[in-house]
Amino acid sequence: MMGRGLLGIEDLEREDIELILETAFHMKEVGRREVKKVPTLRGRTIINLFFESSTRTRTSFEIAGKRLSADVVNFSPSSSSLTKKESILDTAKTLDAMDPDAVVVRHSVAGVPKQIADELTAPVINAGDGAHEHPTQALLDLMTVVEEKGRIDGLTVTIIGDIAHSRVARSNIYAFTKMGAEVRVAGPPTMMPAQVECLGVKSFRSLREALDGADVVMALRIQLERLAGALFPSVREYSATFGLDRAKLRYAKDDAIVMHPGPVNRGVELSHDLANRRPGVILDQVRNGVALRMAVLYLLAGRKPGATEER
C-alpha cells in the first residue's frame, strides 16, 4: 500500500496507520528542537502540485519537507488548463521528467491523484481530491486524538456537517473505524450520503442523539461560498440545528474534545466561544499536521524505486 504513495486511507492497513503515527510522534520531537531540521531527505525533491488553492495544507507540506532538508517546489498550474484530462496527464509526465522523489497533489476532482500516480515513478501523496479523500488530514486527526485520549480503540467519534461532500469526513470515517472507534455522523438529510452506513458508521438526524456519550466531536467546514441556499435553507437555520455550542456540547462526555479541520466559519459550525476555547485542540491539529506530513514524506520520499538493500 504505502509503496506507491498515499492516495487514501481506504487503501491502508491498521499496521500502516500505526507506523505513520509512531513516526509522526518522533517527528513532533524534532519540531520542538532549537534546530528544527534534520538531514534525512537532503538532495531529495518534493513537488507540491496544487490545482486547487490551499494555503494551509500547502504550507504545512512545505514546512514538513523543508524540516527534512528536502527541496520543496510549489507548482500551481493555472485553473484554466485543468479541466482537460490531457493537460493533467501531460503535466504529470512533464513533472516526472524532472525526477521528483515525491509529488503532493491536490485537485478539485476526485481520482486525479490516482491518475497522476499511474503516470509517475515517484510516490504521490493525496492532499485532497474532490469529495473523495484527504488522508493526511485524517491521520493528523488520529494523532491529535491519540495525544488527547491516549487511544482510539473504543472511543465514540461524532462527525457533524456536510458528510456527503466532505473528503475530510470520508477519510476520517475510514481512519477511525479502522482503528477501532465507533463513528457517528450527523447532518441535514441533504448532506447525508445515501446508505452511509455501508462505511461502518451510524447516521443520525438528531444532533443530540449523535452527541450522546461522544468522546470526540468533529465539526466539518460548511462551504458557504458554494452550498448556502442549495443544501440548507439558511446559514442561521444550519447553525441553530447543527452548529455546535456549549449548550449542545453538554450531551457529549464531559471531557469530549472539539475538533475542526479549519478554517472555522465562526458562528456557523462552531460558536465563537468553542472556536476560542482554551485549552482547545484545533491549533494542535495544525501543529500535528506538520509532524504527520514529515512522517509521510520520510516514509515515502526516502526510497528509490528499484533501490537495492545494500549497505
Binding site: T23, H26, V38, T40, L299, G302, R303, K304, A307, R311
Partner: protein, 199 residues
Amino acid sequence: MASDPTAKARPETSPAPTSAGVVLDDVAIQRALMRIAHEIVERNEELGRLYLVGIPNGGPPLARQIARNLREIAGVDVTVGVLDTTLYRDDRLTSGIRPKLRRTEMPSAVDDRVVILVDDVASTGRTIRAAMDALMDFGRPRAVQVVALVDRGHRELPIRIDYVGKNIPTQRTDHVELRERQGGEGMEVVLMQGRGAPS
C-alpha cells in the same frame, strides 16, 4: 547501534549462522562499565559538566548504568539523554526501506557540557558520525567523547573511541549485538558469524 535493522526483514533462508557465541556475559559487561566509569573520572576534571547520551537501541541502558557507577564512585549525578541517529545517517539514502525512528530525549541543553556518546557496538564509525551531527543541532558541547561496549573494527571514518569495553576482532560479514540475556536477568553480547554487515 549493533543490530542491522535490515536483518529482520531478510528471509530466514539468508546465510544460516555457522555459529553464535556469547563474547561478553553480564558479569564481564558490568565489569567493563565500572572500569569505563573510573576512566571517565580519571580523564575529566569537571564531572559536573558530564552528559551521558545513549544511542538506541543498545546505548541508553549502558549510559544509565555508567551514570549509576559514576554516582557510586564519585558521588556525582550525571544527566542521561537518548539520541536517535536515524535521521542523520548517510547510508539510508540508498536503501529501499525506511528504518523505524527511535525515541530522542535530551533532558537539558548540551551547550558547554562534556557529552559522552554511548554506543553498544562500534564499527564503521558512521553511527558515531551521525550522532555527532545530531548532537550539534542541539547546541555546542565543550567536548565530545565516545564509549563503546564493543569495538569490532572495520572503521570507515576517522573516528576514535575514547572508552572501549572490549575489542573484538570480527569478519565484516559477522553480526555482533547486545541483547537481553536469554533465559535470565542481565545483558550479553553475542557474535553471529556470517549474519550481517558492520554498522
